[in-house]
C-alpha cells in the first residue's frame, strides 16, 4: 500500500500546484507587487530617514521579515482556500471515498501550501535583491526555518478550513489574527526597541520567533535565543499536525 500512498500524495500535490499556478494572477503576482511597494516605501523612502537598525541598513533589516511575511500568508491562505473550496464544492469527497489515509491527505494539502509559500518566498527574495544585497550568514538555518514556518501555517490554514462553514470564515483568521501578529512580530522593528512590558507581550506571539530565527540566518543577530525559537516552531508544527490529524480522522466538518 505504500506505493499507493505515495502516488496518492503526488496526485494531491500536483493538483494543488496546478490550482495555484492556474490562478497565478491571484496567487503569485500580488505578493510580488505588495512587497515591491513595501521595499520602496518602508525600505527606500522611510528607511533612509531611519538609518541603521541592529547594525545594518533598515532595508536590510526588514527584508527577511517581509520574505517571511509572504511565506506565512501564502502558505496559510493556499490551504485554507483550497481545502475549504474542496469541502464547499464537495470535491473533497473524491479523496474521502478513496483509500487515502488521513495523514497522506493532510500531507498532500500541506505540501501544496508549502510549495506556494516557498515559491512566493523565492519571488519576494528576488524582488528584495533589486533593493538590497542579501548575504546569508546561516543558509541551512534559513532553509529549515522557512520550510518549517511554511508547514506550520499550511497546517493552520487546513485547520481553519476544517472549521469554516462559509468563505467569510476563512478570511477572519488571516485578517484579524494573522496580519496583526505578523505586523507585531518584529518585521519592521527590533524587539530591543520595545519597553520591557511590550517585549514580554511580544514573547507570546509565535511569529516573533520565526522572524527572529529567519533574520538570524540572514544577518547573524537575533533578539531571542535561536534555540528557543526553533523549539517554538517545531513545537507548534507538532501540535498543529496532531490537531489537524485528530480533526480529519474524526471527520469533523467533513463527514456526517
Amino acid at each position: 500500500m505504500r506505493g499507493l500512498y505515495f502516488i496518492a500524495f503526488k496526485s494531491i500535490v500536483i493538483k494543488e500546484i496546478t490550482r495555484f499556478s492556474r490562478i497565478w494572477i491571484q496567487t503569485l503576482l500580488p505578493p510580488a507587487i505588495t512587497m515591491t511597494l513595501y521595499f520602496l516605501i518602508f525600505g527606500s523612502l522611510v528607511g533612509s530617514r531611519i538609518g541603521e537598525m541592529g547594525g545594518v541598513s533598515y532595508m536590510e533589516f526588514i527584508a527577511p521579515g517581509l520574505i517571511m511575511m509572504s511565506v506565512i500568508t501564502n502558505s496559510y491562505s493556499n490551504v485554507a482556500s483550497s481545502f475549504f473550496s474542496a469541502k464547499f464544492q464537495r470535491n473533497l469527497e473524491e479523496l474521502l471515498v478513496a483509500p487515502v489515509p488521513h495523514y497522506v491527505m493532510i500531507g498532500g494539502y500541506v505540501a501544496g501550501g508549502v510549495a506556494r509559500g516557498l515559491l512566493v518566498g523565492l519571488i519576494v527574495t528576488l524582488v528584495a535583491m533589486f533593493f538590497v544585497d542579501l548575504h546569508l550568514q546561516h543558509p541551512l538555518l534559513v532553509v529549515v526555518t522557512v520550510f518549517l514556518t511554511s508547514v506550520l501555517f499550511a497546517l493552520g490554514g487546513l485547520i481553519n478550513a476544517v472549521f469554516a462553514r462559509n468563505f467569510d470564515d476563512i478570511s477572519i483568521i488571516p485578517t484579524f489574527v494573522l496580519t496583526p501578529l505578523t505586523y507585531l512580530g518584529g518585521v519592521f522593528y527590533s524587539l530591543s526597541l520595545l519597553p520591557d512590558f511590550w517585549r514580554g507581550v511580544s514573547a507570546l506571539n509565535p511569529i516573533v520567533y520565526m522572524i527572529n530565527v529567519f533574520r538570524y540566518g540572514f544577518l547573524g543577530f537575533a533578539d531571542i535565543s535561536v534555540g528557543l525559537s526553533m523549539l517554538v516552531i517545531v513545537g507548534f508544527c507538532v501540535g498543529l499536525w496532531l490537531l489537524a490529524y485528530y480533526l480529519v480522522s474524526r471527520g469533523i466538518g467533513l463527514r456526517t
Partner: protein
C-alpha cells in the same frame, strides 16, 4: 460472510445528530456480478446507506463488508473495491475533464502513465474524449453525469454504485448509458443502482431492494417481484370511433375517449378474448400498450403498505 457476495450489510443503522433515524437496521446481500436496484421514495434512506458504504457517512452501528473486507477493519481494501457515482456533481468545476479523471486514478494508486491510458479508454467509451481539455463547468448536464461514471471507473472497481446516474438526462443519452452499464456488468462489474426511473430499474436490474422509512421493505429478484402483479391494464387505440363502451363480457373496460379503450386483464387470462369480442363488433385495434409501468404499481403498493403498517 458468504463467498461470492459483493456487498453485505448487517443490521445497519444510522441516527443523525438531532435524533433522525435514517437507517433502521438494514440487512442486505448483493451477489458478485449482480445488477441490483435500490429503490425508495425521497428521504427513504438510500443515499445515507450509500454514504455509509462509501464511507462518507459514519454509521451508528452494524456491519458493512465489501467483497469480504469489513469497513471497520479493512477500510482501505474495501474502498479499493468501490467506485462511486454520486447523485450531485462533486468535481472541481474549474478543472479539465482529463485532470479530474487522472487525479482520481492517482488517489487509488494508479500511476500517472497508466491513468492516462485508462482516461483515454473510459472517456472514449463515454464519448467524452473530445472534451478532455474542456473545464468541467463547460460541460452539459449529460456530459457531467458521464464524467462522473468515467471518474468512478478509473481504478477499475469491482463494485460500482450509482446514485441516480441518469437524473436529468435525455432519453437518447439515458439509453446509451444503460447500454454502457449493461456492458460493464457483463464484463463482471457488480452494479448497485438507485433511480427514480422505475422503467430503468426494470430494464437493467436482476435483483431489487426497496427501502422505505429506513427499512428494507422488499428484497427479491425483479422477476419474482413482477410476478406478484396479477392484473395488467392495457390501452387500445381503436380505428373506429365509439359512442359508448363496447360490450366485453367478463372484462373490465373503460372508454377514455371515442378511440381509446382501457382494459384490465388478469395475468392468467389470454388477451385473445378481448380481441375476439372487439372483432365480433367490427372494431379494429390499431395499437396497444401497457398503461403504467408495472414496477411503478408495485413500488407504490409496497411503500403504501409500509406506511399503513407503521401508522
Amino acid at each position: 460472510m458468504t463467498a461470492g457476495v459483493a456487498l453485505a450489510l448487517e443490521n445497519l443503522r444510522k441516527t443523525y445528530k438531532g435524533g433522525v433515524e435514517a437507517v433502521k437496521g438494514i440487512n442486505l446481500k448483493v451477489k458478485q456480478g449482480d445488477f441490483f436496484a435500490l429503490l425508495g421514495p425521497n428521504g427513504a434512506g438510500k443515499s445515507t446507506t450509500i454514504g455509509i458504504i462509501s464511507s462518507l457517512v459514519h454509521k451508528t452501528s452494524g456491519k458493512v463488508e465489501v467483497f469480504g473486507h469489513d469497513l471497520d477493519k479493512e477500510l482501505e481494501l474495501a474502498k479499493l473495491c468501490i467506485g462511486l457515482v454520486p447523485q450531485e456533481f462533486n468535481f472541481n468545476q474549474f478543472e479539465t475533464v482529463l485532470q479530474i479523471v487522472v487525479n482520481q486514478a492517482g488517489y487509488y494508486g494508479v500511476p500517472r502513465a497508466e491513468a492516462h491510458i485508462r482516461a483515454k479508454k473510459y472517456l472514449t467509451q463515454l464519448d467524452l474524449w473530445q472534451k478532455r481539455d474542456a473545464k468541467a463547468r463547460e460541460l452539459s448536464g449529460g456530459m457531467k453525469r458521464r464524467l462522473m461514471i468515467a471518474r468512478a471507473l478509473m481504478h477499475e472497481p469491482q463494485l460500482l454504485i450509482l446514485d441516480e446516474p441518469t437524473a436529468g438526462v435525455d432519453i437518447e443519452l439515458r439509453r446509451s448509458m444503460w447500454e454502457f452499464l449493461q456492458r460493464i456488468n457483463q464484463e463482471g462489474v457488480t452494479i448497485i443502482l438507485t433511480t427514480h426511473y422505475l422503467e430503468e430499474a426494470e430494464m437493467l436490474c436482476r435483483n431489487i431492494g426497496i427501502i422505505d422509512n429506513g427499512v428494507l421493505v422488499e428484497c427479491t429478484s425483479m422477476k419474482a417481484l413482477l410476478a406478484k402483479l396479477d392484473m395488467e391494464t392495457f390501452v387500445l387505440d381503436l380505428k373506429q370511433s365509439q359512442a359508448q363502451l363496447p360490450a366485453l363480457t367478463g372484462i373490465q373496460a373503460r372508454l377514455i375517449d371515442p378511440n381509446t379503450l382501457e382494459v384490465d386483464v388478469a395475468k392468467s387470462n389470454s388477451l385473445n378474448s378481448v380481441f375476439a369480442a372487439l372483432t365480433a363488433q367490427g372494431i379494429d385495434v390499431l395499437s396497444m400498450r401497457n398503461k403504467t409501468n408495472r414496477l411503478e404499481e408495485l413500488f407504490v403498493e409496497l411503500v403504501e403498505r409500509d406506511k399503513g403498517a407503521s401508522a
